[in-house]
């Protein structure tokens, strides 16, 4: 593929899924409702097309000078000279990487969904939403204008809402959907404020122009910091960073492939992407960059602690996702675009795989509760194998994908933020522990589920349409990290040095950093190993009793399993008591009794006045006559009194 991809086809990357959405919702669903499969095929073909085009775009960008393609744009909103918003695309290395991630993962997951969603009455709707989401996500990563990006930013949020609430008849799902949307909107509030600020100070929302303004120093100081923090607030919401992390675990109410695609691989990573996209702004504001790093680092360990104690497999994965997103933020904060995005890249594959695995498990057992599982290793070998690979990868075991990106983050943080580094190291341990806790609980031991339940069939391996995508992802979970063994990935994203493949393969184990007794890679590997070992000890070999440990750390366990009471704080105290029952109820009372009461009061007073005055009209004509005389006297007196 020597030729550069034509502009029209670049647009098509985004338009194909959109078209699929339109076809499904406007044609298939109304007119072919008895042929649900069709919509799956349409959607998958569309995303496949996008994937192929994305690869073409990637190769074009690789060969383009400065890794960038120029795409002409359209006017979206132009009001004379006062404001100009273009709809245009930015085709650089970051976009290209994201395109690959999104299209590839989406493709895999949509294929998997054919099996997972089979027989669901809303099959059409599912694929319509999936297509819409993919389109929006692709739009998000491609556009060159902050406002338009915000448009897609909101749209992916919307799709997330729709898909979390896909089974809307379940109150929990409906609740979770609403919560997700509102919580992320709090973040969007910051994003939008930043957009407003940037436009008012610079007059443009074109991302490239903003970059150059920040680099040139025109955009600097408080404005820059505020804008960057505002943008980051958006990212915090979308990427479920502390303190807006509460929506993501609840979002697991959606169908599992949705969780895999949206709440693990792509949409939640959009926050990381956003920071990366606007990185020059962060780069020039120390405060902002530090904020990113701190929030990221804190979130990583904070979420991991909760992941330790969850019993729902998807919730463990959800906290894991939050934690890993924290890593990415940390990576961006301390290391730059390449490091953060590299972890995003790897994480997309192994985390999607983990979710698909969880989906496969629940497909077999009808539950997500790990206490109801066990022993699935035998009946679901493929699922077990791929899940294990992904777990090793996320735990950071050499030479799987997770190891590479995580190591880079650790490496950068030790140089810049030592405290965060130590926290990250603890997180490494925890990650390995909770992942293998899942593995052992789910696949090890004996089956603890209830065979006589509604899911009457015995646990069984999932159909191949589900297994195949998992296998593909497993390959990627192993190998995606190798892209940067040479530093090529970083180079592509504009940072880092290159080295030979084999040199790179062992580089981490041979270089001891100042301040550390042994090379970093060893340390992290040992910590991960310890984590796995502990999990083995407790949940597989049962050398240690889980119950006793729980009792030993009862307060901590309570803290973790109740999620630090954040839900209670937000939903009960702030939302329900302070706002709804307090402030808003007060305002409503004021509205109906105060303002409207005053209005009705005035009306009543007028009427009552009439009632009183008419009493003067007694029917006694002489009284009337008296008023004539009193009137005369009053007028005269008034005239004299007023002069």
């Amino acid at each position: 593929m020597e030729t550069v991809i034509p502009n029209e086809l670049v647009w098509l990357i985004f338009l194909l899924p959109l078209l699929s959405f339109a076809v499904i919702s406007l044609i298939l669903r109304p007119f072919f409702s008895n042929k649900p499969r069709l919509s799956g095929y349409i959607s998958i073909s569309a995303i496949f097309g996008s994937f192929i085009l994305s690869i073409w775009a990637l190769t074009s960008i690789l060969s383009a000078p400065s890794h960038e393609l120029a795409i002409p744009d359209f006017n979206w909103l132009v009001i004379d000279s006062a404001i100009t918003i273009h709809l245009g695309l930015i085709m650089d290395s970051l976009t290209a990487v994201m395109l690959i991630v999104v299209t590839l993962v989406s493709l895999m997951i949509q294929m998997y969904s054919q099996g997972y969603m089979q027989g669901d009455p809303s099959y059409h709707r599912y694929y319509a939403y999936m297509s819409l989401f993919t389109a929006s996500m692709l739009g998000l990563v491609m556009v060159d204008n902050l406002l338009i990006m915000f448009v897609f930013w909101e749209l992916v949020g919307l799709c997330s809402y729709l898909l979390i609430g896909f089974w809307f008849h379940r109150p929990a799902a409906a609740n979770a959907a609403k919560k997700a949307f509102i919580v992320t909107r709090i973040g969007d509030f910051g994003f939008l404020a930043a957009i407003l600020l940037l436009l008012s100070k610079t007059g443009t929302l074109d991302i490239a122009q903003l970059h150059s303004l920040a680099i040139a120093g025109t955009l600097a100081g408080t404005v820059l910091t505020l804008a960057a923090i505002g943008i980051f607030l958006g990212a915090v919401g979308k990427s479920a960073q502390f303190p807006l992390h509460v929506w993501l675990p609840d979002a697991m109410e959606g169908p599992t492939p949705v969780s895999a695609l949206i709440h693990a691989a792509t949409m939640v990573a959009a926050g990381v992407f956003l920071v990366a996209r606007m990185f020059p702004l962060f780069e020039h504001s120390e405060v902002a960059l530090l904020t990113v790093a701190i929030i990221g680092g804190l979130t990583a360990i904070f979420a991991a602690t909760m992941g330790l104690v969850m019993t729902d497999i998807k919730r463990v994965l959800a906290y894991s996702t939050i934690s890993q997103l924290g890593y990415m933020m940390l990576g961006l904060g301390v290391g730059g675009i390449a490091i953060g995005i590299f972890h995003l890249f790897n994480h997309a594959f192994f985390k999607a795989l983990l979710f698909l695995g969880a989906g496969s498990v629940s497909h077999a057992t009808g539950t997500f509760d790990m206490r109801q599982m066990g022993g699935l290793r035998k009946v679901m070998p493929w699922t077990y194998a791929t899940f294990l690979i992904a777990s090793l990868s996320i735990a950071g075991i050499w030479p799987l994908a997770g190891f590479w990106s995580k190591d880079e983050i650790l490496l950068s943080s030790i140089n810049n933020q030592p405290i965060l580094f130590y926290l990250a190291m603890v997180t490494v341990f925890m990650t390995a522990f909770y992942m293998f806790r899942v593995v052992f609980l789910t696949f090890g031991g004996q089956y603890r589920g209830d065979n006589s339940g509604s899911h009457s069939a015995r646990p069984h391996e999932s159909p191949s349409v589900m297994i195949m995508p998992m296998v593909v992802l497993a390959v990627l979970a192993v190998g995606s990290g190798w892209l940067n063994v040479t530093g090529g990935f970083s180079q592509f994203l504009g940072g880092g040095e290159t080295r030979g493949f084999f040199e790179g393969l062992f580089h981490g184990f041979t270089h001891t950093l100042p301040g550390l007794p042994i090379p970093l890679a060893w340390i992290s590997l040992i910590l991960a190993g310890l984590g796995i070992l502990l999990a083995y000890a407790i949940y597989s070999a049962r050398w240690l009793s889980a119950e006793r440990i729980t009792r030993l750390f009862a307060p901590l366990h309570m803290l973790f399993s109740r999620k630090y009471w954040f839900d209670e704080l937000y939903e009960h105290i702030i939302a329900r008591i302070v706002l709804l029952k307090g402030l808003f109820a007060g305002l409503k009372f004021f509205d109906s009794r105060g303002i409207d009461g005053a209005v009705n009061g005035i009306a009543r007073t007028t009427v009552a006045t009439g009632r009183v005055i008419r009493k003067a009209q007694t029917g006694q004509l002489q009284l009337y006559g008296m008023f004539i005389i009193l009137g005369v006297v009053a007028i005269i007196l008034a005239m004299y009194l007023s002069g």
Binding site: L77, V78, I186
Partner: protein, 498 residues
């Protein structure tokens, strides 16, 4: 100029009303068709005008003008014309007028009177938007009270008589102040003039009589504020909305309250630039209060229509923000928001009406799980809701974001970024109440008591589809409107250096 398009647009519905009211022996069915035709034709003409409107830079501001001397004694003229600001609202009203007839198709009570009043209502609102003479404007402004009174009090629900009377009294009080303001304005000009166009081009400051300009400004503003409505003059709106028949709610939310916003721009801002600028911070404060307070109260509503009504108050706060930020972009945004809110909230009311009609239930707490029984309605309602909470690709987002962008960047009024940021909270709260509403009404387990509830029928689907198409059209391609609106806003923004 060769053809009196605007006159025809305004008075065709009136003619329809006259036919319906006076020709004896029309069957209900025939009456509906007559009403449909007499609203469809104005819609077609208004769309034609929209297409023919000269958007080029040097074009005349007011187009399709008609001017006939009317009451020479007070220099009042029958003067019509549209500019970029009013044209979209005319189109909107013509559209809603037609859709209102469709929405009312199932009305069976006193059909003849109903459609006569409905058409008269359309005439009066259209008249407000195209009048360029203050007296004429005011006449149309006031005429609307009578049909509204009847429509709410006869075909309404709940405390309909109370609400209708409340509406009338509020409007009359507002009208009273407007009348006083118009008179004050009239006597300030020299020679006395009632022409909005002429007065706007006059510098009033040297002409001030015993009545200060600011006083006139506030008289007019207070009158318009009732319509918009600006808190604390808003309490008629929830009652009127709650108890009005569906089609009337649609028109009320769609265009009637826009009369307030339109008039503030057309009269208050354009004629009193100095007072506008002086008092902009006050008005911006009210805008923020409208947005946040309105949304907060919305969250506590239990009646489906009342909730939407309060959300309108919140959304009108954005219009106010856009207006008094006084930048060109924000003013265009205000114009856009008026249109957008018209279709979005119009749709919300239309669907809420269907829900209430089909389920015989309006208490949100007692509804639930309807997405199973009425899937089409659920989808439509969701789309309308998305518009109301400003989700991108709907017109709601485009309009609100334009206001925000314009307002935040405005350099006419100091401190405006703070107000803008406060108003941003409105979007957040909007998400909360819309999602809550959706969840309570449509999601959750299906309730057995609604098992016999039917979904939208074909007619309902058709008019909802028109609304939806417009919501997305404006949301995705806002320039279809902004190109027009900006021609009307440009001379106004120029008063403030924009």
């Amino acid at each position: 100029m060769d053809f009196n398009y605007l006159t025809i647009i305004i008075f065709l519905p009136l003619a329809g009303a006259a036919i319906i009211a006076l020709v004896p022996g029309l069957s209900s069915r025939l009456i509906r068709y007559v009403a449909a035709i007499f609203t469809l034709v104005p819609l077609a003409i208004s769309l034609g005008l929209f297409a023919a409107f000269d958007r080029s830079a040097g074009a005349e501001v007011f187009q399709f003008q008609e001017k006939v001397s009317w009451i020479p004694a007070i220099n009042a003229n029958y003067h019509l014309g549209v500019d970029g600001l009013s044209l979209p609202l005319v189109v909107l009203m013509a559209l809603l007028g037609f859709l209102a007839v469709l929405i009312s198709w199932k009305i069976n009570l006193r059909v003849r009177e109903y459609f006569a009043w409905l058409l008269l209502l359309e005439t009066s609102i259209l008249g407000v938007f195209v009048s360029l003479d203050l007296l004429l404007f005011f006449i149309f402004w006031e005429i609307e009270i009578i049909p509204m009174y009847f429509l709410i009090s006869i075909w309404g629900a709940g405390r309909k008589e109370y609400s209708a009377m409340k509406y009338v009294l509020y409007t009359l009080f507002g009208g009273a102040l407007i009348l006083a303001g118009i008179l004050g304005l009239y006597f300030t000009t020299d020679p006395h003039s009632l022409s909005m166009v002429d007065i706007a081009q006059t510098d009033l400051a040297p002409l001030v009589t015993s009545i200060p300009l600011a006083a006139i400004f506030f008289l007019l503003l207070a009158g318009f504020a009732v319509k918009l409505p600006i808190i604390p003059l808003h309490t008629w709106l929830p009652d009127a909305h709650t108890d009005a028949p569906t089609a009337v709610s649609v028109i009320l939310a769609g265009t009637l309250i826009k009369m307030g916003g339109y008039a503030i721009i057309r009269i208050c801002v354009t004629i009193f630039p100095q007072a506008t600028q002086d008092y902009a911070p006050l008005l911006l404060t009210l805008a923020a209060v409208n947005v946040v307070y309105g949304a907060a109260v919305t969250l506590k509503q239990t009646d489906i229509k009342r909730l939407i009504a309060y959300s309108s108050i919140s959304h009108m706060g954005f219009v106010l923000l856009g207006i008094f930020a006084l930048s060109k972009v924000s003013l265009v945004g205000a114009g856009l928001q008026m249109f957008s809110h018209g279709i979005i909230t119009g749709l919300l009311f239309a669907v809420a009406g269907i829900v209430m009609h089909n389920t015989k239930e309006r208490n949100i707490a007692k509804l639930g799980g309807l997405a199973r029984q009425m899937p089409a309605i659920a989808v439509i309602f969701t789309i309308a809701g998305l518009g109301a909470m400003g989700v991108p690709s709907t017109s709601g987002f485009t309009a609100e974001v334009t206001i925000f962008l314009g307002a935040f960047s405005s350099n006419v009024v100091s401190g405006v970024p703070i107000f803008t940021i406060i108003c941003l909270l409105g979007i957040l709260l909007a998400a909360a109440y819309i999602l809550w509403l959706l969840q309570r009404v449509f999601f959750g387990p299906a309730l057995a008591k609604f098992n016999h509830v039917i979904d939208a029928d074909r007619l309902e689907k058709i008019y909802c589809a028109i609304f939806i198409a417009l919501i997305f059209l404006v949301g995705l391609y806002p320039m279809i409107l902004t190109d027009v609106i900006k021609t009307g806003i440009a001379p106004i923004a120029a008063l403030f250096g924009g």
